[in-house]
Subunit: 133 residues, 4 copies
């Protein structure tokens, strides 16, 4: 389990006074980026040095409680599934009182950068995912 | 069925060269706002004049093909379900060649502004949804 | 003069109820992208086919009146200056009542894609800018 | 002087591979929010408990070097000016090698929430700004 902490920013809220729903997905991705970074697979490395992409083919979220500007949240990231050429992360967002305010999931596939076709999980990625799972 | 047209902007893409995934949700919401506007229920009216909110409690998307800056897309919005105190919209995104590039769903509940509790669909909302469905 | 029309989206507002200030810059860039597109220099062409970038080295805005979700705005884009290796666009944002709600400026330089150094305005760009000015 | 640290996220970059220019303004505001928070004037307090707003009437930025996803940056915030009914913050963004990559400024006015008119700096705000300057 990986934990990412952040604070809700004003630009992440909308005129209804709360976090705009698509920003929960953005925050989940921020947590995922920090997780990859902690593995030495940060996006700078992925984009410049790896010969594969990890595009998201499915994403979903449940929104359980409103979030306000200044709220300090924690996002827990877990591996939900490791497939042949895909993997799934699950996310749990908690507020400063440890109340679950949202959950989510992203499904990623591994795609070859040149051919732009789906490939089996590259060994370095598979090893890292298994160690973490 | 309601149709919304837009063009992918540079700020909606990321360093991988494609539409950033959470921006598909944002674009779906833009289409939903245009739909409400066409009903005379635009967000300005909703926020200032109505005594209920329509928060999203669940959202999901499938990403079927990459989108680039400048791509002209069409988003079709349909009502997938009308419940007692909730309704669901479904979205289909097509590129300029009418190829489906993404699909999605948002589930909304009706919440009383003062009590912040779930209420049955207000009559004006129910009537409008039924007429459209 | 080039004119771009758009509607303020919910995600462009914040919990203070108005357009978040940095989104005026984003909207100015949307107008600039539409202008380039109208010239046949859209960002897809720029990024894939041209051997130069047009990065922004300076940007500024004045905010003259608040904008709400649903407001229909018009952005006028003009060329304020054509230099040796730079050009400046100016922007005027008006609301549905033709009231000026904001103004802005972006200064762009021409940079060679390979060497990443400043170069004189490429002939195709200079010709296009002059025709428009 | 106040210092705010953050990491460039994928969604803050664009298809040209770098930080999208308007996101420098967004990051400057994130730093400003953290500064207010450190004073006990965070936006949650401002929006719910104070009888004034602090809207931005002018903003500008210089962009001195490109920023990539994963870059760790530091934003220094200083008070550049305290006026009768306005104040100005200046920002300096540095990368992980302490190189200045951008600078900026935001000019804020104090506006009464009810009358929506400009008012002199409220005593609590003036005292806090002076202590910090």
């Amino acid at each position: 389990m990986f934990t990412y902490k952040t604070t809700i920013k004003l630009h992440e809220t909308d005129a209804a006074g709360l976090l705009f729903f698509s920003n929960q997905f953005k925050l989940m991705h921020d947590a995922y980026e920090a997780l990859l970074e902690s593995w030495g697979f940060g996006f700078a490395v992925l984009l410049l040095k790896k010969d594969y992409f990890l595009p998201i083919v499915h994403a979903e979220s449940d929104f359980k409680a409103p979030l306000f500007v200044g709220d300090r949240i924690t996002i827990e990231v877990k591996i939900a599934k490791i497939g042949n050429s895909s993997f799934t992360f699950s996310y749990t967002l908690c507020d400063q009182n440890k109340k679950v305010v949202g959950t989510g999931k992203t499904v990623h596939v591994t795609v070859d950068k040149k051919s732009r076709t789906k490939i089996p999980l590259p060994p370095d990625m598979r090893t890292t995912l298994k160690k973490f799972a």
